[in-house]
């Protein structure tokens, strides 16, 4: 499995797409933070916080919080990572080479998920680093003690990475089940929109548990309290486990 992750990174580092995604992530963040632009795709937007951030984005901390809201848009960019890591395997049928290299089906799915997780972590780390540097370049104060800011940003980075990865694991399941890269890519696009629309139309609060893209923003803005975070974590861990195991089971019984 480690070899497969290494092979995927070797391959990614030799494609333009990977560099382009990282570049776009940095540019998008820098522009948003510099021009104090805040917005995203979410179920329950903390409007007061958004107004506050837009009007008073005078500290680095406020810039990073604004960037967290903006990060939900990044999923459209991250689709490229999904295509590079696992989409190509299916569209170019190279999964045959991979699966006869001796790797088990479960290891294959896990290796792909972990590669995506690492990709997301790297991209979001760049994203927050850019937010931090841009804020300072714009002459803004830290807004809090630096160690506290770094700790807060680190936590946001980890939670954002994990919760976004859950949607990608579900998209992997869709890809294996459908065999269609288009359907799985559309799934990633539709997921937050469908959850947002569903929430608006039904007012079902539980939809926020599967609004994986915005959990980190919710924590950051205090709309998700620490006491109820376990519910979000539980739902995400269950979704992740189901998608990995179901993906491995499906691929085991699929004509490849």
């Amino acid at each position: 499995m480690i070899n497969q992750i290494r092979a995927d990174f070797y391959r990614q580092l030799r494609t333009w797409g990977f560099g382009l995604v990282m570049g776009l992530t940095v540019v998008y963040c820098a522009v948003c933070v510099w021009f104090k632009s805040v917005g995203g795709v979410m179920v329950n937007a903390p409007l007061s916080a958004l107004d506050e951030l837009t009007a008073k984005q005078t500290t680095v901390r406020a810039g990073i919080r604004g960037a967290t809201i903006n990060s939900s848009v990044l999923l459209y960019v991250f689709i490229a990572l999904f295509v590079i890591v696992i989409g190509y395997e299916f569209s170019q049928q190279t999964y045959k080479n991979t699966l006869i290299s001796g790797i088990s089906r479960l290891q294959f799915i896990l290796a792909k998920y972990l590669t995506l997780l690492l990709d997301l972590f790297i991209a979001l780390a760049l994203f927050y680093l850019t937010a931090l540097i841009t804020g300072r370049l714009a002459g803004r104060a830290w807004g809090t003690a630096l160690p506290h800011l770094l700790q807060e940003t680190g936590l946001t980075l980890v939670t954002s990475t994990f919760f976004i990865s859950v949607v990608f694991s579900l998209a992997m399941l869709v890809l294996i089940a459908s065999g269609s890269l288009v359907i799985s890519a559309v799934f990633i696009v539709i997921w937050p929109l469908a959850v947002s629309l569903g929430s608006i139309l039904t007012n079902w609060h539980w939809l926020s548990y599967i609004d994986f893209f915005n959990v980190a923003a919710g924590i950051s803005f205090g709309t998700i309290h620490t006491g109820e975070l376990w519910r979000y974590l539980l739902v995400s861990v269950v979704a992740l486990t189901v998608s990995v195991l179901a993906g491995a089971e499906l691929i085991q019984h699929k004509e490849l």
């Binding site: 290494r6 092979a7 070797y10 049928q93 006869i100 290299s101």
Partner: protein, 307 residues
């Protein structure tokens, strides 16, 4: 010691109502070059995919290098394969594609990649992206991919497709070298039977999903006897005459020709016999048996048997 590398017992497979394989039992021994022969849709690719675990086995038993399909642990890491079409990452170069395979197999020897490229004759294309390779070059890349980790078993589905005549000859030499120098067992399918005949040591004939015959090359040669093709003025009279003379192994080919199996009678004696009975002999020619003829006859008999 003669070790069984691939063992299939009573394997059947169907897709909906279509029976792709029916009760196939076969064994490939270490060191064999086993040729799978059959028409399109006979089940060759399906059988190879079952062996590689790319298709679930619904009934029967498939074992590779001592491990059961569906529960492979180490077996597949000792197998190289090209199935249907050689797959490669189109935007990576020849060398980069092989680097990916090397990393997947945990190989850390850059020389192994250079050797594989050299072995398949792609040295001049080492920095060419896979998408810019010709069909034949992609086949070579596929073979390099398959042999990179020095597999004990090589499974090649129609590997000669797209190769030019020179490439076919080179490919044949490559397979023989792999088999002889690295003791690689090879399971191969192709529609170019003349090539299969030249490389294979064992033959398996698939027809409509059924393995109708397996035999070794010596057995094939023995069964596929050469004969005398005789062109006469009256083929019915000639056939009656041969029958009366207790020459039983002959076959009427058409209105003018009949084939007398080799070893029945010498050409001169046959000519004398026919002429003595006022039959006009236009020609007598030696005919070498071929894999194509054997296959065609086998399929014809199989269909007669079904009818």
């Amino acid at each position: 010691m003669e070790e069984t590398v691939i063992q299939l017992r009573d394997v059947s497979k169907h897709f909906g109502h279509y029976q792709a394989l029916s009760h196939v039992t076969m064994a490939v021994k270490r060191g064999d070059i086993y040729a799978l022969i059959g028409e399109n849709g006979a089940g060759k690719t399906t059988l190879m995919r079952l062996i590689l675990g790319l298709s679930p086995t619904p009934s029967g038993e498939v074992m590779v290098l001592g491990e059961h399909a569906g529960h492979y642990r180490h077996a597949l890491s000792r197998v190289g394969a090209i199935i249907e079409a050689p797959a490669a990452f189109s935007k990576l170069t020849v060398r980069q594609n092989l680097e990916v395979i090397a990393i997947q197999h945990g190989l850390n020897d850059p020389q192994a990649i250079t050797d594989a490229i050299q072995f398949v004759g792609l040295t001049a294309k080492v920095r060419t992206q896979a998408k810019h390779l010709s069909l034949g070059q992609r086949q070579r890349l596929g073979l390099a991919t398959a042999i990179l980790a020095h597999p004990d078993l090589l499974i090649l589905d129609e590997p000669i497709n797209g190769l030019d005549p020179t490439g076919i000859v080179e490919f044949r030499t490559l397979l023989q070298r792999l088999n002889q120098e690295q003791q690689t067992t090879i399971l191969i399918s192709s529609h170019i039977l003349t090539e299969l005949y030249q490389v294979a040591t064992q033959f398996g004939f698939l027809h409509h999903g059924t393995l109708i015959q397996t035999l070794s090359k010596p057995a094939l040669d023995a069964a596929n006897q050469a004969g005398l093709v005789v062109t006469v003025s009256d083929v019915n009279a000639a056939a009656s005459l041969l029958d009366a003379q207790q020459i039983k192994q002959f076959k009427v080919l058409n209105e003018r020709d009949l084939l007398v199996a080799a070893g029945q009678i010498e050409p001169a004696a046959l000519n004398r016999l026919l002429v003595d009975h006022q039959l006009e002999v236009m020609s007598i020619a030696m005919k070498e048996g071929s894999l194509e003829d054997y296959y065609t006859d086998l399929i014809a008999h199989s269909q007669e048997g079904r009818a």
